[in-house]
């Protein structure tokens, strides 16, 4: 089967800013694929190139087997694109927006009813409400519905969950999962690292480069060092103490604990734990617990990010 997306050495500059500096990756047909990274990483630029809205300076990209530059017009009716900024008509009702997007692609709501049903049934109670007056989560569902109405073979969703509350985010991902299990390919970007686990595979993006491309479990497992969760009654004091500890490789707050790695990779993990515990207790901290913890995608992201940034400085 042809890969749904093939990106080869894509470079894009805006003036003196390099948005993408040599990005390559592949999205398989039927995959739910996530580009995970902060604002300014280059996610939107890449999505605009894949949605045929922007031409790369170098390299090439193909979607559904067609070149995004040469086959631009053919591709546009085969892809669905949901930009990061809310891009529907706020003064039109839910139904009017949907009808408009259907008509642009020469179809009708009635004809596409089955395809959009899982989402449209949630929107139907608000059919006559102005799109601008919907809640954040509902706006995103309407935008998804509009991106789907012409039966695209692939969806590009640029930060569909940004600024949306945690519960609506979950519901949105549930929708995406059900769509891709029906055979659709979906490419999604997000700044929320915890959403990586909802994807089949992810690419971690930072400063216009991909730090890793793998399954979420593979990315997490590539962390490559013993990771410890350190807790005590006083988080900030513990964090400051760990900053002073001569063997600290990294120490970051993570939920209710601090994720810590030791510089000395040759030392047994048990010894690393004992020594950091002893150090903290010598610092006067009490109720200290140090336990191994499995790395997450976010741990790997930070480790790779730290490494790539340290390359430029005195390491």
């Amino acid at each position: 089967m042809t890969d749904a997306v093939v990106v080869q050495d894509v470079v894009k500059r805006f003036g003196t800013t390099t948005a993408l500096s040599g990005v390559s990756c592949t999205v398989r047909t039927g995959e739910l694929f996530g580009f995970i990274g902060p604002d300014g990483a280059g996610k939107t630029t890449l999505f605009r190139i894949l949605a045929t809205l922007l031409v790369p300076d170098k390299g090439r990209a193909a979607v559904l087997g067609e070149d995004v530059v040469a086959a631009m017009w053919r591709l546009r009716s085969r892809i669905g694109y949901m930009p990061g900024r809310f891009s529907l008509y706020p003064d039109l009702s839910v139904e009017e927006n949907l009808r408009f997007f259907a008509s642009v692609f020469g179809t009708t709501i009635a004809a596409e009813r089955e395809r959009i049903a899982p989402i449209y049934t949630q929107l139907e109670p608000f059919r006559t409400r102005r799109a601008g007056a919907l809640s954040g989560g509902m706006k995103q569902k309407l935008a998804l519905c509009c991106a789907l109405v012409h039966r695209p073979e692939i969806l590009f969703l640029d930060e569909p969950t940004t600024g949306v509350d945690a519960v609506s985010r979950r519901e949105f991902w549930d929708l995406l999962t059900s769509l891709t299990s029906g055979g659709l390919t979906a490419v999604v970007s997000t700044p929320y690292m915890d959403e990586a686990d909802r994807c089949d595979r992810v690419a971690l993006v930072q400063h216009g480069r991909l730090l890793a491309v793998d399954t979420p479990a593979g990315v997490a497992a590539s962390f490559g060092r013993p990771l410890m969760a350190v807790r005590s009654g006083e988080r900030y004091a513990t964090l400051k103490a760990l900053r002073d500890y001569e063997h600290t490789n990294s120490a970051y707050p993570f939920g209710e604990s601090i994720h810590f790695t030791d510089k000395r990779t040759d030392l047994p993990e048990q010894t690393q734990q004992q020594e950091v515990r002893a150090f903290l207790s010598a610092r006067g901290l009490v109720n200290i617990s140090v336990a191994p913890t499995p790395p997450t995608v976010e741990d790997t992201f930070m480790a790779r990010m730290g490494a790539s940034e340290a390359n430029g400085s005195t390491a």
Partner: protein, 259 residues
């Protein structure tokens, strides 16, 4: 140290039955809570739950329909101008002027809050030194990475040494390392006695707060330390607590045991 049991002297925000209606719609429905000096208080809720309306009342921008609130000791009905002078505010959307330099932004905010030139000079020097931004004083804000801008915006919001700082999604879209560095600035400010009132959509950040409140349909659905809430709801993450509260229909206990 349970919720609402703080000494009056130590309270920097006190809301009692605070309510705001728009026509027939009740945006904020009789909410009551106290926030103590030096506390990091997380103010969570689904989109549309009433957070923004509540924050606008607490920052003196919107008059309540009923109930009482004092912020930094000032009354939200009668002393909204005094409140504005005694709080700091930073939002994700707008915080600094991108076409001004770092130093010009500091001067502007210092001027707005009536600081003398000398105070502005000294505090700017100190702030830039602490942030490691001294070389960036003459740089246009637009040229700085997002993470720097957010740290700078936070420090500028503290320039007039307010007792309370309101942070509205301060880390949205920021990379995970910078996000954590930002939280270290929050801890530092709180350790120095500043009350930090913060909203976020990152559920791990909810765990970094001393206490959190979760708003549901205009009411406070739950309030307490992250570990209190987790044990009360029998979950191991604040994220789960949030889901149970925000979508009671999908869980077994509709409404829960909201106070």
């Amino acid at each position: 140290m349970s919720a609402g049991a703080a000494d009056a002297a130590d309270v920097t925000i006190r809301a009692k039955e605070l309510t705001r209606t728009f026509g027939r719609f009740i945006a904020v429905d009789h909410i009551s809570f106290d926030v103590r000096g030096g506390e990091v208080f997380g103010f969570l809720g689904a989109n549309g739950a009433g957070k923004t309306t509540a924050i606008r009342m607490l920052t003196g921008l919107l008059k309540p329909s009923a109930g009482q609130a004092t912020v930094a000791g000032f009354d939200v009905y009668r002393q909204s101008e005094a409140i504005k002078r005694h709080i700091g505010y930073m939002s994700q959307r707008f915080s600094l002027y991108e076409d001004l330099t770092v130093y010009e932004n500091i001067q502007l905010y210092g001027g707005i809050y009536d600081l003398s030139n000398r105070q502005i000079r000294d505090r700017a020097e100190n702030m830039l030194q602490r942030l490691g931004f001294r070389d960036a004083a003459a740089a246009l804000v637009r040229s700085l990475p997002l993470g720097w801008r957010q740290k700078l915006a936070f420090s500028v919001a503290l320039l007039h040494q307010p007792r309370i700082v309101f942070l509205d999604e301060p880390t949205s879209g920021v990379d995970p390392i910078t996000r954590r560095q930002f939280w270290e600035l929050i801890y530092e400010a709180a350790a120095a006695g500043t009350t930090v009132f913060v909203t976020t959509h990152y559920m791990d950040e909810a765990e970094y707060c001393d206490r959190i409140s979760i708003m549901v349909d205009g009411k406070i659905g739950a309030i307490g330390t992250p570990s209190e809430l987790k044990s009360r709801f029998g979950t191991d993450s604040v994220d789960e607590v949030f889901v149970r509260l925000a979508r009671p229909t999908s869980s077994s206990a509709p409404g829960g045991t909201a106070q």
